[in-house]
């Protein structure tokens, strides 16, 4: 029983580690995109995708 739990703990550790590395990449890439958005003008196209989808 303890062996099974230990395996589960190690699996959780592995998944957490993989997720943490991937999340760091998300932070870096989206951070750069965010900076671009901040300096974008309001008159650039803004497609309200949610509008149509929301009507389903």
């Amino acid at each position: 029983m303890n062996g099974l739990v230990t395996v589960c703990v190690r699996l959780l550790e592995f998944l957490f580690f993989v997720g943490a590395v991937g999340s760091l990449v998300v932070v870096l890439i989206s951070g750069v995109e965010d900076m671009e958005t901040i300096f974008q003008k309001d008159d650039a196209p803004d497609d309200p995708v949610g509008g149509d989808h929301n009507l389903r």
Partner: protein, 786 residues
């Protein structure tokens, strides 16, 4: 068209009009949206670090900083979900991806989060105030200002019971915001903005003063130099017994390694509580919605990183170890203020300022929690999961007061049951936070495979293998959230028991309520019905509808063909937009006898629900209007006239072409009583091609050849002595006067015959027609501006 068939008659004959206003259709800037979210997210700085250190030891600030960095990634998931669902929120997203049952479970977890946000914020604010009062009393006692008798009564410096004070204050603030929300949320965003402005002043002062302290102050704990908190490695983690939860008597408590890091991370996720409010404010964000959402998200992420992350780090560095947890765990920033470098009185005054700001932001979080819970339960209710009874608008204020009462009732119960224990509340709170985030990210992950349609934005990075897109970023965020949530289940015993109980109770309520609804409305489509506050108006005017003159009036009838509404909203129109639905009544029905239900039926409710949904997706405000009418054209032109609209916009009819629509509208305009004003009529085709007509007297379009003819005549006439000053318009006036004379007195028949021949030549294409517009060219919207 006979004028006596008109729906709205000027003068003394008045009919009843219903103005339908969406309960919460108010749009706000991204600054205000960020302020609302930060009232919740930023408030965590006042208690998250204290709770985390009690649980994991002195290395806690590193985990808080780690959580704040990770919150950038969680924010990305929320931006993607909000870009897909304007009325976002975990319920809608999870329902689309995983079905109704999991959606109900996830929204129950979210409700647990929201319900606890209020109590933890209120109780924390109470601790800050009680701590300050005790500090002032101790200072006064030390200075000998307290009477000896009082000193004896307390057996030392007078003091107040911090837990009791915290409970009383939390109850008082919660009741205050209950009343504010019952009245309506409009002023809440204004208050949130002010609170965040004051908080920013405090944060700048705190960081600046802390930097000065680190530069010239004496290091804490009698150390030779300032020390950073111990590194976040397993050997530096010192878990309290309660922080290990169900694992405390097992060998796994000592199985640290990365598992220990995960436990510590799980105890710090509280620092990003409030991120979920982003979905709540998304609905209210002004145009351009997606950009403003991203901007708000960036502001929120940077602000909370600086505030929560850096302040928790500085607190551990500057406040000595022996007092930090013992005295200041519930009011850590007060402790930081008191251990800055400088005179005591100045520090006490700064602590007072900190407490004042803390009280404001924490009480703001109570408001955000009430608004958030209200929004979530409204969405759930609209989907038929809660009975209509919950969403019934308040008679006077139009708010969903029953939901507000329910939420506030549960918050008050939690505050009293907690007895002012911030740590216990924090432990329980984390359950709702982590599980609502986990459900949301899982749902977004599933939607990547289930719904491959357009999205406003996607969490990066995504790689494509053999034509299949793999959402690496989204999957990574989900993994961290899921593993942390699982670990928390075992290490946060209070949270697990309280959270699971609450979630189960709420889930059962949703389940039972949904079944009741299904039985009650077996034959009615109940999905996504907006509740409207119906206001009677005896006559239509700009003041009654709440718009400025020069508005654009959009006539709607079929909720499946609203592209003309989208066309108007997609242009940056500065005018107010009024959406009008004419409720046709039978020729024999007496208008005065129409009841509210007759005027605003289920059909109008569905129609306006869609209209509001579209307006929300563009982040633009619209006014809604229903008028009873026996003739739709009369209703439109008379409403436009009464509202002083500059343009009327309609979709292309299925029964007639645009010219016939304009002809009917023109006839109705002619039949209307004076005073009446000219207007523009625009018919938007399904392909977004627009035909524009002028209604009422207007300058006719003159062919180039006719302009040249007038000019040649003018040149010839002005050569005559004495006629040098004649204008082109004089020629047109004289020609028209002679034409009118001939038509009415002498030569009517031959003029009509001539016009008949002209019409025949036009029909054969012998006369020039205006060139059609190139659909590929961008067109300026031909909407009149005032």
């Amino acid at each position: 068209m006979a004028s006596d068939s008109n729906a709205i008659r000027p003068g003394s004959t008045r009919v009843r009009i219903v103005v339908a206003t969406s309960v919460m259709l108010t749009f706000i800037s991204f600054w205000r949206a960020a302020a609302i979210v930060l009232n919740d997210l930023g408030s965590s700085a006042f208690y998250a670090a204290g709770i985390a250190e009690q649980a994991v030891g002195k290395a806690a600030p590193w985990f808080i900083i780690g959580v704040m960095i990770f919150s950038f990634a969680v924010r990305a998931v929320y931006v993607e979900s909000c870009s897909m669902f304007v009325r976002g929120g975990v319920y809608r997203v999870v329902k689309e991806a995983l079905g109704g049952t999991l959606a109900k479970i996830s929204v129950s977890a979210l409700m647990f989060d929201y319900i606890l946000t209020g109590p933890i914020s209120g109780v924390s604010a109470g601790h800050y105030i009680a701590g300050l009062v005790n500090k002032w009393l101790a200072t006064a006692d030390a200075a000998g200002w307290v009477p000896v008798a009082v000193h004896h009564i307390f057996g030392g410096a007078p003091h107040i019971n911090e837990n009791l004070t915290a409970v009383v204050l939390a109850v008082a603030v919660t009741l205050y915001y209950w009343w504010e929300n019952t009245k309506g949320i409009q002023e809440s965003s204004e208050k949130a903005l002010r609170v965040m402005q004051i908080t920013t002043v405090m944060v700048v002062l705190l960081l600046g003063w802390s930097a000065l302290t680190l530069l010239i102050g004496k290091p804490a704990n009698n150390a030779a130099h300032w020390q950073l908190p111990p590194l976040p490695i397993p050997s530096n983690l010192h878990f309290s017994e309660s922080a290990l939860g169900f694992l405390k008597h097992t060998q796994f408590a000592h199985l640290l390694g990365l598992f220990g890091i995960m436990i510590a991370f799980g105890h710090s996720v509280l620092a990003m509580s409030g991120e979920e409010s982003l979905a709540q404010v998304n609905r209210e964000l002004a145009h351009p919605k997606l950009k403003n959402l991203k901007r708000a998200a960036v502001v929120i992420a940077i602000y909370s990183f600086v505030f929560t992350g850096l302040v928790s780090l500085l607190a551990v560095m500057i406040i000595p170890d022996n007092v930090r947890v013992a005295q200041y765990s519930d009011n850590l920033i007060s402790g930081l203020a008191m251990y800055e470098v400088g005179p005591n009185l100045l520090k006490l005054l700064f602590q007072t300022f900190v407490v004042l700001v803390g009280f404001l932001i924490l009480s703001g979080a109570i408001n955000t929690a009430i608004v958030g819970s209200n929004g979530v339960l409204n969405r759930v209710s609209e989907d038929g999961v809660l009975t209509e009874w919950f969403r019934k608008p308040h008679k006077r204020f139009g708010t969903s007061f029953r939901i507000i009462n329910l939420v506030v009732g549960m918050q008050l119960f939690t505050i009293i049951a907690s007895r002012g224990d911030v740590y216990m509340l924090g432990e329980a709170y984390a359950f709702g936070v982590i599980w609502s985030f986990t459900f949301n990210s899982l749902a977004m992950l599933v939607l990547r495979f289930k719904f491959k349609g357009a999205r406003g934005w996607k969490v990066p990075p995504n790689i494509t293998i053999a034509g299949h897109e793999i959402p690496l970023g989204l999957f990574s965020v989900f993994l961290v959230l899921f593993t942390t949530a699982v670990v928390n289940l075992f290490t946060k015993s209070i949270a697990t028991v309280a959270g699971l109980t609450f979630t189960a109770v709420f889930f059962v309520i949703f389940l039972v309520s949904e079944r009741v609804n299904r039985r009650k409305f077996a034959h009615t489509e109940q999905q996504m019905q907006e509740q409207f506050q119906l206001l009677h108006r005896d006559q239509v005017d700009t003041q009654g509808v709440g718009i400025r003159p020069g508005s654009i009036l959009i006539a709607v009838r079929d909720y499946n063909t609203l592209n003309h509404l989208k066309w108007v909203l997609s242009h940056n129109v500065e005018q107010d937009v009024v959406v009008l639905a004419a409720r046709l009544t039978g020729p024999g029905s007496a208008e005065y006898d129409l009841s509210m239900d007759q005027i605003f039926s289920d059909y109008e409710q569905t129609l306006f629900t869609r209209v509001v949904s579209i307006a929300e997706s563009y982040g633009k405000h619209i006014a809604l209007l229903v008028v009873p009418a026996r003739d739709v054209w009369s209703a439109i032109v008379q409403t436009a006239n009464a509202l002083e609209s500059s343009a009327i916009v309609a979709g292309l009819s299925t029964k007639m072409n645009a010219q016939e629509q304009a002809f009917n509208l023109g006839r109705a305009w002619e039949a209307m009583h004076e005073p009446k004003r000219q207007t523009l009529f625009q018919v938007v085709r399904p392909d977004n091609e627009v035909e524009t007509f002028r209604i009422g007297p207007h300058t006719p379009s003159i062919r180039t050849e006719d302009v040249h003819l007038v000019h040649r005549l003018w040149l010839d006439i002005t050569r005559t002595k004495g006629l040098e000053n004649v204008h082109h318009s004089d020629l047109v006036t004289m020609a028209l006067t002679r034409f009118a004379h001939d038509y009415t007195v002498s030569d009517r028949e031959s003029i009509l015959a001539e016009l008949q021949r002209l019409e025949e030549r036009r029909a054969k294409g012998e006369l020039g027609r205006p060139k059609p517009r190139d659909p590929g060219q961008p067109q300026t919207p031909p909407i009149l501006r005032p």
